[in-house]
C-alpha cells in the first residue's frame, strides 16, 4: 500500500500555525505538527473539535501560511495556493449563481479548456455522480447530498494529485454519509490520489482510510498518534463497521482520543 517513497505527496515538517489576536498577543493553533502522506495514501486526520485540524488542512492547501515549519508538496516547497490539490469544503462552496453543470465545468474552463469541451466533460462527471439529469439545477434546488456530489465532481474533474477534505460529509444525515463514503472510496480506488481527510468521526476515519492520525486538543495542538488501518480493500462502509479488526482498532484509538476529546470539551466549555 503506502510505501515511504522519497517524495511524499504531502510533507509537513514541524509546522506551527499561530494567529494574531484582536486583543493583542497570539494564539497558537497548531504546534510542530509533522505529517507525511505518501502518493496514493488515504489519511484521516482526527481530533477533538477546535484542535486546528482544519487549519492544518488549509496550510496544506496553501490557503493559510504556517508561522513556522515546512510544507512540501511532492518534494518541493509549497508556493501560494497548492495547485496539485483539490479541496472539498465542509460548508457549501458551490457558486450559487451557477448551475450544477456550470459549477463542475468552471475549473477546466478557467484553466483554458474550450467551454464546449469543459461542459461535455462536466456532464460526464455529473453522470458518474448519478446527477446526469440535474445539470441545469442551481445549488439551492439540490439536496445536501446532491450538492456534495456536485462539489466532489467540481474538484475531481480537475484531476488533482492530492485530495483535501474538511469534514465534507459533516452536514449530511447518517444514510447519505454512508452513500457518500462508499462513492468516495469507489472513485478513489480508480486512480488512487493522496487524500487528507479531516473529520471528528473516528468510525468514518477508520472505515475510509489507510492511516488514522490523531491530534491533541488545542491550543498548540500536535500530532499524538498514528495508526495504520489493516482492513482490506475494497471496503463497504456499512459492512466494515461489523468487522472484528475494525472494533479492535477503534477501541485502541479511542483510548488515546478520549482524553483529548474531554480536554477539548472542557476548554470550549470554559471559554
Amino acid at each position: 500500500m503506502a510505501e515511504n517513497a522519497a517524495k511524499p505527496a504531502v510533507g509537513l515538517s514541524d509546522v506551527s500555525i499561530a494567529f494574531r489576536l484582536a486583543s493583542g498577543g497570539t494564539y497558537t493553533a497548531v504546534e510542530r505538527a509533522t505529517l507525511r502522506i505518501a502518493d496514493g495514501e488515504f489519511v484521516a486526520l482526527v481530533g477533538p473539535t477546535g484542535c486546528g485540524k482544519s487549519t492544518l488542512l488549509n496550510v496544506t492547501a496553501g490557503l493559510v501560511a504556517p508561522s513556522a515549519g515546512r510544507v512540501d508538496i511532492f518534494g518541493s516547497p509549497i508556493a501560494a495556493v497548492n495547485r496539485q490539490a483539490g479541496y472539498l469544503f465542509q460548508a457549501d462552496a458551490l457558486f450559487p449563481w451557477k448551475t450544477a453543470l456550470e459549477n463542475v465545468a468552471i475549473g477546466p474552463e478557467t484553466s483554458g479548456m474550450p467551454s464546449a469541451e469543459a461542459r461535455a466533460r462536466a456532464q460526464g462527471w455529473l453522470t458518474r455522480m448519478g446527477l446526469g439529469a440535474f445539470g441545469d439545477r442551481y445549488p439551492h434546488m439540490l439536496s445536501g447530498g446532491q450538492r456534495k456530489r456536485v462539489g466532489l465532481a467540481q474538484v475531481l474533474i480537475r484531476n488533482p494529485k492530492i485530495l483535501l477534505m474538511d469534514e465534507p460529509f459533516g452536514p449530511l444525515d447518517a444514510q447519505t454519509r454512508q452513500i457518500m463514503g462508499n462513492l468516495l472510496l469507489d472513485l478513489w480506488s480508480g486512480d488512487r490520489k493522496a487524500v487528507l481527510f479531516v473529520t471528528h468521526d473516528l468510525e468514518e476515519a477508520i472505515a475510509l482510510s489507510d492511516r488514522v492520525v490523531i491530534m491533541s486538543a488545542g491550543p498548540a495542538a500536535r500530532v499524538i498518534g498514528d495508526w495504520r488501518v489493516p482492513l482490506a480493500r475494497p471496503r463497504d462502509i456499512s459492512e466494515i463497521k461489523l468487522d472484528h479488526a475494525f472494533h479492535e482498532l477503534h477501541r485502541d484509538i479511542w483510548h488515546t482520543l478520549k482524553a483529548e476529546v474531554i480536554k477539548g470539551y472542557a476548554q470550549s466549555e470554559g471559554t
Binding site: 492547501a61 495556493v81 495547485r83 490539490a85 462552496a93 458551490l94 457558486f95 449563481w97 442551481y138 439551492h140
Partner: protein, 262 residues
Amino acid sequence: MPRSRLIALQILVAIIAIALWHLLSTYPVFGKILLPPFFFSNPLDVAQQIIAWFVSGVIWKHLWVTLIESILAFVLGSIGGVLIGFWFARQPRVAAVFDPYVKMINALPRVVLAPIFTLWLGLGIWSKVALGVTLVFFIVFFNVYQGVKEVSPTVLANARMLGMSERQLLRHVYWPSALSWMFSSLHTSVGFAVVGAVVGEYLGSAAGLGYLIQQAEGVFDVAGVFAGMFVLAAFVIVIDAVVSMVEKRLLVWRPLAIPDEV
C-alpha cells in the same frame, strides 16, 4: 385566499374609494359638501381630463420624456454605483478616505440639488437625469459594496483552490455576488429614478409628468393635478411590473427570489 378573490377585493377597494370621493364631492351631507370640488375635484372631471390627454395624444410626449429621464438616471446611476462600489470594496483604503464624504452626500436631501442641476444643465432632460442619478447611485453603490464585501469566504477559497486568477475571481465570484445584491434592490433604485425625474420636472422643466402636474397646480386646476397623479401612479405600476419580470429572470438561481404574497 384564491387569486381571483384577491383581485376582486382589490378592485372593490378602488370602487369604494372612488364612489366615496364622488359622493362626498357632489352631494351635500347635512347641507355641506365635505370635499369641495375646488380642492378635491371629482372623479368624473379627473377621468375626463385623463381621457382628453390620451385622446389628443399630448400625454404621450410627457410620458416619453419622463420615461427617458428615468431610464437614463437608472442606467447612469447604476453604472456609477457598480464601478465605484466595486472599486471601494476592493480598495479598503480608498473607501476609508472617502467614507465621510460619501456619508455627507448621502445624508443630503437631494431635492436641494435640483436648482443647481437646473443652473448647470438647463431646463432640458439632463438636469432631471442628474437628480435621478444622485438618488440611484447611492442605492446601487451601497448594495454593490456590500455584495463584494460579503462574498462567502468558503466560495472564495473554493474558487482559489479551483485555480482561479485574480481576474477570474472578479468575473466569476465578486461580480455575480455584487450584481445579485444590486438586482435585489432593483425595485428601490428604479423607483428612485422615477422620483428623481418627476421631482426634477416639477421644480422646473418644459415637459414630463412632473411638468404636467406643476402646470395644472399653477392655475388651480385640481382635476389636472389629480389626473397627473393617476397617470403617474399607473406609469410607476407598469414600470414596477417590468422590473419584477426582469428580476425573476435574473435571480433565478436564488432561493425565494421574490416572495409572491402581497
